[in-house]
Symmetry: C3
Subunit: 130 residues, 3 copies
Amino acid sequence: MTKLKVKTGNREELYNITSEVQSAVDRSGVSDGICHIFVPHTTAAVLIQEADDPAVGRDIATHLRRLFPRGDPYEHNDGNADAHMKATGVGNTATVFIEKGKLTLGTWQGIFFCEFDGPRAREVWVKVQG
Amino acid sequence: MTKLKVKTGNREELYNITSEVQSAVDRSGVSDGICHIFVPHTTAAVLIQEADDPAVGRDIATHLRRLFPRGDPYEHNDGNADAHMKATGVGNTATVFIEKGKLTLGTWQGIFFCEFDGPRAREVWVKVQG
Amino acid sequence: MTKLKVKTGNREELYNITSEVQSAVDRSGVSDGICHIFVPHTTAAVLIQEADDPAVGRDIATHLRRLFPRGDPYEHNDGNADAHMKATGVGNTATVFIEKGKLTLGTWQGIFFCEFDGPRAREVWVKVQG
């Protein structure tokens, strides 16, 4: 397993980590297989979505705020229950195929780390299967 | 990796692709393993849900429209930002176990391609691990 | 594949099944690999989320009820369409890395079976890859 570091700068923000994940695949030496991505946090997520227009990531954050307002009444009283809800909605794992040593993504896709309770020092775990 | 083709006929619709995925498993010759399904689009998704009553798929589309209205203000101005939101909510990967050469699904489950910005010619990528 | 049994006691409830999944990993004898978790039901889900404060699970159930009210008009008329929506939002698979024979989870994470239409006798399928 490779542990990538992500330093987030805002409470909510999406970070394109595709090239960092590709570097982990490069280091594995696997040319044909599966790349598993796992976020070990409960207020962050990983998402495969459009990488061309950063507005998509901002729209996702905006709409998740509308679905799970921070000011709603929550039993979990750490002040970040909304971030747990948002992370649940997006998910903490992703799976990407590897062919000829490269992550195979669709034309518009990138891999994004989704911060919902930053800024923080975060990790993304990557495991490559040959 | 096998690339399945899905020709969608409406803006939003769920298509049961279980038999096409099973055919990809058949061609792989794998009898015990894992079938990974990956949608290489950012306005479509894959979902394992009830295959018996097509009303479930229609309910899912209806409720996603209510959560992410097409007419909402979005920064992404291609007119399909709602479809990116819906795809994010459902997810673009699925994993199914294979036993004795067959996809092992629950009694009521099927594998669905979820179109949120059709009609289009789409792909579903399948990779089988032995 | 190992089939775990989960007996749920309420219509909606999250159950921490981390130790049962770890037992399946123990029985597999795999020390380095991937643990795949699959819920074969269409009104239940699996989620990796905070295991320290049970309030998080209750908040998730509460907010999913707000997003998908049971009393909404649904075409699927079994009285549990809301549960299908909730399961779709959370997802029916999870993937966890195994190192030195142990599931590698973040500090606060646990693996939860999410019941949305109980009480019922449920199954969770686990497959371990070395």
